[in-house]
Symmetry: C2
């Protein structure tokens, strides 16, 4: 991981110059249980006492940490200056800022981007107290743009890790088609996919209880629901999985759908095929629009239009989110202009961003049919990172 | 886990009455990666969109969540009212508060207690915006006392789980004495204790890279340091472990020390024995003082005095912290009146609290000798939850 931290810290300096921000301060404590989500990008171990990580446009990298964490921070070799304290961080923190004299101090808060909102309200108030005798307490601004850009511009090492997470997931999906049969409960499928990850020594991309989400027909819990021990993979229904793994710290997030044929059926019923075709076309429509410089809402609109024009109810989530260390990796989303998404549908898309393209339709009497692919934004468009699902296979019965 | 959530939600109503606080609002989003640490106590699954969990003195339990999380929240049976939204939480949230008309709204922020400081600064600002047309945005207060009390008063189910985590840890320590021998590196020991946890299907109480912390002599990284692949368990040195597991969601946190004898030694050298006796006496001195109603700093002072009077340098951390779902479980600490600990050394101790008692001394040329026990605060004093280390064993060589 240390190599990745070096790659990301190197990016920071360029980003601070581009945004013309003097100084970025990550202020944390007890990061094991309530960590700032940006921390793993810039430091490869946890911090316990109040700690300040200061990165400047001029390339300084200053860590002020509790006495017992001194050696762990130094050992990474990533920080140009490591200061320690025992009783209070106030003095070394004020001294460093007084020396740097930043015009502004970017802090990790954001109304829009969860992944740029790691500073807690109590820590913010503590920081104000620490800096109350300096001019810097009135020079705060949101580090939202720094963090969104830093997370979003995947380094080569990060892209490689996401590719590997996807490869493992696709291998597991292949394996699933050999296992899943009518009569298996959602819990059975859920357990099988947990075992599949454990056997391959990878983690899950989100909470185990909800990863995978499994739907087997019209009775299944929608969206982020729990798998049922009653509902089964059933003939005449859609069998649908939303699943991802975490491999070497990076995530995948993919959806796949199958049709479970009734006796004698050799292809999906027309209504099901139309549902699949619509979802597939909508994803291709989004992929067509996605490129550096566009805003996410335009990509969402392209996909949403296909679904609405085909006569299905509008899906009630964004068409895509970024993926990286986290399954929902923050920054801009490919989402509609709804209040819930704040400013994130307006963040311009950049080369090196990794997005999901995902949506589905509820088919009456058949269940939920959804697809989710992953793409890398390139200079002129996208590269498919997943192998897109191009047809709706029949699950062997 | 659902049973535990019911136990804790039941406690909340009593605590709100005792503190005479009308209404406690937990406001969260995307809890998978940046969760409010209080959330697992009151809800047994994650939430994705902005969500509000409102608990009132009158016993109402209201959850306002995104549309797709409706069924998951309802299925717990713990919430008396579940409201959902698609585009913005503002309207249902304002409606509920307008109906309840709380005199104050406690929020999860705290300058003192990390575990009560789950509300991020961005979410706080969003909440103010949502409530800007109501009187409630000026009725916020810290939920620090609610959360500290709720986490601190362990329910019978929680105490049982901590006991089991300790039992597993002590079993692993026994196993370790059969494995550890001079020549093993710190990394070997670290790996052995990871395997020991995995074999028993328990997790680690804190970050894997630092759990256990292993010291093998004067050259080891102090405190929260990484294990070395060079330094070995060595004759004439102290071998010391700080380790804990997470079993059924609850943690242990214990330290044990051994002396590694040189050829012909049948007991520790006098300086080592004196170090052990001092640490042991200091822990007993703390245990003597610890009881409901006292403030944590008095317990710390009792132990600290023993170490200083024996001529050792003062240890630079608190004598104890609470343990539960988290290894550092927040609330009051048994710590000195240092700025870094804020008000937490002054929080009164209650029956049902679970604390560590932990400290150590650096022995010149021998390494770090530390002990850490776990105790339950009872009506009149304490019950030892761990089997205290009463002597300094020789590691078989």
């Amino acid at each position: 991981m240390t190599q990745l931290v070096h790659e990301k810290l190197h990016q920071v300096e360029g980003i601070l110059k581009e945004l013309d921000i003097d100084c970025w301060l990550t202020f944390v404590r007890e990061t094991t249980d309530a960590g700032d989500p940006v921390l793993p990008l810039i430091l490869d171990h946890p911090l316990t006492w109040q700690s300040a990580l200061i990165l400047t446009q001029s390339g300084e990298r200053i860590a002020i940490v509790g006495k017992y964490e001194d050696e762990a921070v130094r050992s990474s070799g990533a920080w140009s200056k490591v200061l320690t304290y025992v009783q209070s961080i106030k003095e070394p923190l004020c001294n460093e800022l007084n020396r740097l004299q930043p015009k502004e101090v970017a802090l990790n808060y954001s109304l829009n981007d969860v992944k740029a909102d790691g500073l807690t309200f109590g820590l913010f108030e503590l920081l104000k107290q620490h800096l109350s005798e300096t001019p810097f307490a009135s020079r705060f601004l949101s580090a939202e743009k720094i963090i969104g850009t830093l997370r979003g511009r995947k380094s080569p090492g990060e892209i490689q890790r996401v590719r590997r997470a996807i490869a493992t997931t696709e291998e597991i999906f292949l394996d699933l088609t050999r296992y899943a049969r009518p009569g298996h409960t959602e819990i059975d499928i859920h357990g099988h996919l947990h075992d599949a990850a454990a056997r391959r020594h990878v983690g899950l991309a989100w909470e185990a209880a909800l990863c995978p989400s499994v739907t087997t027909g019209p009775g299944s819990m929608a969206g982020h629901g729990f798998p049922s021990d009653q509902l089964c993979v059933s003939e005449g229904n859609i069998f649908h999985i939303d699943y991802g793994v975490r491999r070497d710290g990076y995530c995948s997030d993919l959806q796949r759908s199958w049709y479970v044929p009734r006796t004698g059926e050799t292809r999906p019923p027309e209504s099901v095929q139309k549902g699949f075709d619509t979802v597939r076309r909508a994803i291709l429509a989004a992929a067509e629009v996605l490129q550096p410089g566009v805003e996410g809402w335009t990509v969402d609109a392209a996909a949403r239009r296909v679904v609405i024009e085909a006569g299905y109810p509008e899906y009630q989530h964004a068409t895509g989110h970024q993926v990286g260390r986290a399954c929902h990796d923050g920054g801009g989303v490919l989402g509609p202009q709804w209040e819930r998404y704040g400013q994130t549908p307006f963040f311009p898309i950049e080369e090196g961003n990794i997005f999901t393209l995902e949506l589905g339709v509820d088919l009456e009497g058949r269940g939920y049919l959804g697809l989710e692919e992953m793409v890398l934004v390139t200079k002129k468009g996208i590269e498919w990172l997943s192998s897109p699902q191009e047809s709706l296979p029949l699950l062997p019965v």
